[in-house]
Amino acid sequence: MDVGDVLRDRMQEPAGLQRMIMVSCAVHTAIAVALLFAPARWVSHSQEAPRTVMTISLGGGGPRSGGMTAMGDRPVQVQTPPEQPKPREPVRPPAAKTPEMTVPMRNARPSRTTPAPSVKQAPQDAKGRTPTRGPETRAGSTVAETGTRGQGFGLSTGGGPGSGSTLDVADFCCPDYLLLMIESVRRSWNQNQSNAGQVVVRFTIQRDGSLTDVLVERPTGDPTLNIAAQRAVVLTRKLPPLPDAFPNPTLTVHLNFQYQR
């Protein structure tokens, strides 16, 4: 047998290409058929009801909020009545002039007047604004609607400086429900930890009030803090059902636990 004969024999390709093309054809047809019968939500986007997500901060309330008021961080005000303008006094005629020719007293002392102190700086209140009359913010005990938006619910552990939170309560229908939720979460929350830190826990409130999908979203370095925060939500277990005024089926909450030493 010559080398040429060997090479000629070896040039023939092994069979099986046609069979593989048939297999490929069958698989493609199967995929096409699967696409034909697949429900539309597999290929196009699903149209679920929008899920509401909100972030609430536990711990570190705003200044002077003192904790659990629905008004949150709004400044507490009293409304002072505008001052009544003074009644005009009638213009009096000038006093009659004393006679010109008076004899001065020999022993009369000259009257002394103290000069007014020179003004170096404008008073604090008068800087750059026109003094107004009308409602004015003062510390007091009355709650008044001022239109400022609340910055979360202050649930301070130690009254320290709170960090910002992203809940816009003014847009949510039922702040009372959130208060209720926070109160029940706080009841099962062990705040007394050795370290300070911030943990964000995410969970979903179902329509019937059950808490699902509890997840530490932003952990802190200390695992005990993470676990304590997660436990607080898990132990809460069940809330009253979502209020009827709330339209969506679920409410996802990012709860921010702030531990202060």
Binding site: M1, D2, V3, D5, V6, L7, R10, M11, E13, P14, G16, L17, M20, I21, M22, V23, S24, C25, A26, V27, H28, A30, V33, A34, L35, L36, F37, A38, P39, A40, V43, S44
Partner: protein, 256 residues
Amino acid sequence: MRTLGSLPLALWLQAQSGTVAEGSSTSIVTLVLRSSPISKLVLLALGLLSVISWGIILYKLWTFRRSERHTTQFLDIFRRSNKFSEVQAVCKSLDDSPLVGLFQSGYAELTAQLRQTAPPDAIGSNPHGTVVRPTLKSLAAVDRALLRASAVEVNKLEHRIPFLATTASMAPFIGLFGTVWGIITAFEGIGQTGSTNLGVVAPGIADALVATAAGLFAAIPAVYFYNGLSNRVKLFASEMDDFAMEFLNIAERNFT
């Protein structure tokens, strides 16, 4: 095999269509049915390219796996046996290994040379009674025979792989052509209705983009497997070079 595969698939499809599929309104299928004849032609061409390239991919993967298995077996036998004739006897059963081709052509060249230099009666009629070792006339000729066989084997391994490269570079362009054509018709429709409302523009563009998606669907596996398969051909080639050296060494040691 195909009946076993298709039966569960059919059952599964039946279950799917029975439960969920009634509500489907805008699926890929309706997009395809709605598109223009040119787009359908483009989709058909891309489907054909995909079918053929997948066929080649499966075929090559299958043959390469067989080749590798046969190669390891052949090398095992080749290194254990003392006689080339033993190895030659095994070659028929390990036909898919490229090394078999090398060995057979080398062996054919070797036997041809030995037959010329040492005719059978010369060995027997040696006056001193010692066994005269058969010698090779030219080792370079054996080397050339191995090189020829190696070229043949590489050609065989590489055969049809360039189709994958063609598919990989051509399919996106075909898809793009379909998309551009679809967008042209979509804009014509916009011109006729005289409205630039998104509701008028969007469906036409969605129809058109299906062609690009199909092009990418055909091209991506082709690119992947083209690179993988050509790499394996390279590995086979280096294996063959290695074997040729080994064969030449043995021939030189025994027949010169």
